[in-house]
Amino acid sequence: MAPNYESTRADGIATLLTGISGLLKSEKFTDLEVRLGDRVWNVHKSIVCARSEFFVKACNGEFREGKEGIVELHDDEPDVIDKMFHYMYNNEYDDADTETVPVLFNVRIVAAAEKYFVDHLALLAVSKLDYYVEDSWATRPFADGIEETYTTTADTDRQLRDAFLEVVDRHADELFDKDSTRYPHFQAMAAKTVSFSMEVAARLAKAEGIRRSRVTYRCPGANCPMVFRSTMKEADTSVVRKCGKCGLDSNYSWDKWQQFRTIFDGTVIETA
């Protein structure tokens, strides 16, 4: 029987990937040395350049790195760099065996992925982070994670920010409790990280708008079944409405309208 094309191909790809994974550990044929403090990684230009634009430019030859075959990094956390290289060879990394708690660690992975232009790594890190973020909302690493997100990653990175903001939304009443001793780390961070606080405020304001637009009133006319939706605010002194069914003209303040408020049951007929 002829070999199955698809499975043969898949086998080939698997062999290739296994081979590449083995390369990092064995340190065979390496042609680039990456240093960070006292840590050293011996890697392959062909692999790291395929995954990172930063290494492409660094190895290009015009600068010192290209001539010496050594890239010296600064300011980074060795564990993060280690996982980054691991990812380059394996398309995967483990966040459970690091000293830093995963919520924070994965934020740092995102920052490194952006700094060194490692494609797809940031997305992987966000998806890992998503797993821990809900359970850690009350912890200090949660607050630290947010702070680092807003100071070390690009504003354009929405996925990472949204992962945190959705959790903050759900626990906003507690996190922003008037008693500042309950979540001191969070509140200190919020006070300092203005761009974060602005985004929280914007989301709350938007949610309020949506809530209000869901409020429904019934027609003041006797026995009129008409129900309508309104976004009227407490400050409104005169809200005019002509009923499309009984033709009644009503003009009341927000206060007065509240006695006609009904529970929205999905049978809204009009919007005013």
């Binding site: 290009n60 015009e62 600068f63 708690v101 924070l104 100071t151």
Partner: protein, 822 residues
Amino acid sequence: MATRGTRKIRPPRRGLNNGEMDFEQTWAILASAFTQIHEKQASKLSYEELYRNAYKIVLKKKGDELYLRVAEFERDWLGSEIQRRIHKELPPQLMNALQGRSSAGSAGDNQVRKQGERFLRQLKLAWEDHQTCMSMLTDVLMYMDRVYCTDTRRPSIFTTAMSLFRDCILRSHVRGDDSWPDICGTLNHVILDQIRMERDGDFIDKHLIKVNVYMLEGLYDSHHEVEEEKLYLTSFEYEFLASSAEFYRALGDRLLKESDAGQYCRETRNRIDEENDRCRSTLSESTTPKIQKVVEDELIRYRMKDLIESESGVRFMITNERHDDLALVFDLEARVDPRKPELTKALQKIILEMGTNLNDAAQVGAAAEVPEDKAKAPADRLVNQQTVAALKWVEDVLELKDKFDAIWKQSFQSDQTIHTAIMRSTAEFINSHPRCAEYMSLFIDDNMKKGIKGKTELEIEVLLDKAIVLLRYVQEKDVFELYYKKHLGKRLLMGRSLSIDVEKQMISRMKMELGNNFTAKLEGMFKDMTLSEELTAGYKGYVARLGDADPRRIDLAINVLTSMTWPVETTNSAPDDARESRLKTIYPPAVERIRQGFENYYKEKYSGRMLDWKGNMGTADVKVTFPKVPSKDGFKERRHELNVSTYAMLILLLFNDLPSGASLSLEEIQARTNIPTNELVRNLQSLAVAPKTRILLKEPMSKDIKDTDKFFFNEGFMSKFLKVKIGIVSAGNRIENDRERVETEKKNNDSRGYAIEAAVVRIMKQRKELSHQQLVTETITQLNSQFKPDVNMIKKRIESLIEREYLERIEDSPSSSYRYLA
């Protein structure tokens, strides 16, 4: 989850996010590195360090400031150092030379050229350096480009740096002097100067120019990087095209004056190729179609007419068979206009002229009109001359056509437009010859009688093809049919055709070309001939069966011709003979008996048919015994077999009963035979005037035949041959004389009248009502394949149809219209 709580919690890394970053300090690191990069001292620099510093600035939201500082850095660098290096290569001497070209002696020219090249080299260097440096800076500033520029929609720093090169270098003025063109303008001048030198046959450094062009192609007029705003297009290309137009205009003038048309074409083609090469090797391929158009405009489009009409132009090429040159002319004009209007026009004019010359020559050949009833012999000679001229005309036309066919195939790539033009002009001059249809028919006649003798089947095939091709051109197909019928009729009746097979082939070709209608009557003629053979044989058998085997019986070979099919009248008589021809010819009893016998036989076979005997068209073999005269073999009778026309036979038979020495006058002969006067005169001329066949003697002996002339049997007739053929004067097919032609025309007009009426009735029957204009148009369309109807004739026919109540005028119609009356 619980296990994770036991982990050590690290505080945020203070070094990066909270640590203060001093912008000026960081920028100083970058700026110093950038200087080293521009000075080509980059090999000691660490990419990581530079990248990290730029990264930090952007992360600290200072991307905007970084961006501006880099741009400022580049502006400074280009505006001082690089500008100085380039301006240095533009000494006043070069600038002057580029402006007013006047001072350029050849030595000065060479110096200017060297200076220009140095300028180009310096600019090339500056551009290449700028590219290299900026690509390194872009690498360092990668994070700024990706994060800051994308977020704020600024152009990449590379793009900005390229515009800076344009502003600080290309738009700068040497020594700040606005009265000179800026560097960009100067660059144009230098490049155009180099191209001028190359066009004049010099060698130039193409690569050097190409690099500079490449620079112009990489830069834009404004910061919107749109295709149409490439500096190459906005600054250089326009000037290049304008100066090229000027160059080729002058070249065109010179070439027209100094070269012949063939050279002109070759030079033009070379120039076009050269410009294409130049675009590829020196400029930009995007310019290829544009410069091609310039060269085509200046050397072809605006010049084609002058070129074609020049002394060494198309006429010269055709006369001298310069097929390659003609191909060049064709090729050139085809480039600028697929319809090739000038070449087409010229060809048509030339063909028309050559054709008109042929027509005129034929006219001269046939110049002397045939004088009516003058001395016959010279008149005949004239007629023969004219016939020869007619045949020559057809052959010349064929030759002309072959010549242009050959040119068309060899030089004009069998182009359809040209073909149509050649066809049209050929048709025009052929039809402008009033007797073309007659000549064509004569040509075929001549070939059927003589031409195909000894020719192979293939040669005959070619000949037939030629005849058909010519026929295609003849507009008045009906006139041709008339002549063809007449000529064919004579060939068949007198057995003059060399091959009935070839005749039939000709007919089947005509059938394919012109349709069944055209050949129906011609085919009828062949059918009659076959039927007549059967009749003759049948009659012979019939006579034999009667048992009346009289050895002195006259043998009869008969041709029964369907009167509508055969052109009997034309061969018969002129109008003034109408009265006479109604008289019945009197046959002597011996002949009359046979005539009756056949008529009986025929009527038995086909009852109800009328036979009308045509004495003028038959021939008879007559055995004549002449009295004894002394000869070298002794004293004996002489017998001769005379082949004469039927009428001549009747005349001779009269002398059978006459005592020796008696005579008959013309009037007597006529009274006893009823032969029409003109036929009688003709036959008597053959019998009594023509020197070699003088069977009768005439008194007085003169060439003219008069009513009172007396005729005697020539007992002393002598001939070396046993068989003597007494030809009737002008029996063969030859050109018509004027009188005959008038009649042919009249006949043709009559038949056209019928054809027009038939067409009008056909159209009206279908359309019921129609305006005059439409009716005329449709009639012309319907009849076009036969002939080109005359509008006046159509009007007359319509009038006549109205009179006969086939049509009526529609009253109150805004335009005159007709209604069909069923």
